[in-house]
Amino acid sequence: MRVKHLLALFGACALLAAGCGSDDGGGGGGGGGASGDTGQTKGAKAVDPAAADSAKGEATYCTGKDTSGDLIQGVKDFNKANPGIKIKLLEFPESADEQRNQFIQRQRAKSSDCDGFESDVVWTAEFASQKWLQDMTSFVEKRKSEFVPSTLSSVTYENKIWGVPRVSDAGLLYYRTDEVDQVPATWQEVYAKAKEGKGIVYQGASYEGLTVNFLELAFAAGGSILSEDGKKATIDSPENLKALQFMVDGIKDGAAPKAVTTYMEEEARRTFESGKATFERQWPYAYALGNAKGSGVKGKFAVAPYPPFEGGGKAAILGGHNMVMSTYSKNPGAMLKFIDYMTSPEVMKSNAVKYSKTPVLTETYADPDVKKALPFADQLKQAVEQAKSRPVSPVYSQISQAIYKNVNAALSGATDPQSALKKAQSDIDKALATF
């Protein structure tokens, strides 16, 4: 009796499974023509810049939680100035991973929930190769000269432009002006001074932030992660080994505390603000907080773009967000008009002044009001200009894991730098071979 019931149950499951199977088969057939390593974005929908002129109706812009409030204000001002258009803001959770999940789920379902999306700079290749984004080349081309060139590299994939940079970000070297007379000339000097003083803190936990921290030094030392054509890992190189050995030695000889292997942005910031470190590698957001009431280093620190790595050059890693448009948008004209507004020089300026957002337009940095609001505007501009993109690949999340997991293992002493890079090399090659 029981056996019969079980069989009936499995029979039902098999039927259900077969049902969804045929769906998948259909979906698979649709994209079959686009296989091969290049031209995955061939045939992507392109925006029509003229559509913005006659735009009206509703459109939704999806973003991670707007903690600073600049987007909420932007939407309000835009709707007031354009009575025929109503832009709505759909806020996702604050964590970057969760924003990406939320957007991916909607795009997979071909949902028109998001006409536009506030995309992290590292997601462009993945989203574009899945044909989730509209090709915005024709729109951006007209305004190309206004942008800091490095910010445009983060929206470029397969020679097309997939979004408009809105906010940039680049790490800075924070240092105590009461402990260090002048900015050290090289990273090696930074670490030497850190060893004499109270050390340097950075983001060394096993997460995306460590990928950025490692790449800053690796790129400065002359290293690379992927070959020119993006098909092979090149992380196991003498230059990268120099950078990783430098970080590991820094922890071993006390230039950086052992605890950095568990630090993310906030832990590093708290340590620096409590006066327990002489140097800190940090994003610009910590500048205002460090000078706020309650900070132990108020008025006692300054920032600088990164110094060069001895025997190498200067490098920083680009962060920030781009405004992208969904393939499944039902009102691309209105969204395009909104994007044009949010990335205009006027909004860029007021966002820099009111919300300390790092501008992507060259002219904004020169504005006297901006210089007053962001006293480190010149250093910030240099940092953004010298910033490089993280590896551009549809399998970026796996590449980043290969970097931060193995670098973290080396920093905590679980493995030596040479074998960590060897493992990262094979992990990245495996990631690149993902179907």
Partner: protein
Amino acid sequence: MEAASVRAGTPARRRSRGIPERRLAALMVSPSLILIAIVAAYPIAYAVWLSLHEYSVRVAGLSRWAGLRNYTTALQSSEFWDAVKTTFIFTGASVFLETVIGLAMALAMHSAFKGQGLLRTVVLVPWAVLTVVTAIMWQTIFEPTLGFVNSLAGAVGLPNDTVWLGESPEALIVMIIADVWKTAPFMALLLLAGLQVIPHEIYEAGKVDGATAWQRFTRITLPLLKPALLVALIFRTLDALRIFDLPFVLTKGAHGTTTLSLISYETFQTNRILGLGSALAILTFLIVMIVSFIYIRFVGGNIRGMAGDE
């Protein structure tokens, strides 16, 4: 004998109402069967289906049949076996400690004294705290420079520079401590229920026969508590095998704390490798199934055997 008489009487009556008893029974359970099929059987079957395919992460909508390739990939990867090892060490250590501590707590709560109600409430507080909050709390306690543990160690002259969540096996130990703190009260609650059904007379009879407190514990309490203990063990073991939230918050899987659930999540959700991610989830499911089968086979027999003894 009774059944025969009932059977003789009922068919006529049932038939006159139209629906045979068997079919009526089937009809009545069918809503719940359909519900189970939708919420349990379908997702499992779908996950199996996904695990037999490969879905391209680089080309939109491209997929292909993979057979068992995802499973062989998973079984050949050192990451999978590391996760199995970590998960089992975590499960073994935390369930053992929870059982011992939970039993002690249950015995304390069971003995009659003033303030017993208050004690029961207080003991249960950790269980009511969300796991994510628990994880953040222990993360703070074990923070290397400002945390309570290192400050205390420094105050009494012990080495205070341990980076608890940045080293192996320290990170796993913190994870086990956090889990024990949170779930020992749950264990205690289940065991307390078991203690309360043991008749008082047996203890009195034992006392009359001159049994010491220790003898009463080992000869009366433990054997009679066994059914409750085993149910609690099954609950906790299966729960611990699926642990996700603690390592996710504490370390994101670094320093030897990557569990089975964590690598399935990372593969499926973060890296969007749907086939391999599903295969990892199915393997986790099978491991949990095998463990529960072993429990029910050996332990379930015991429960039935004991019920027969009485």
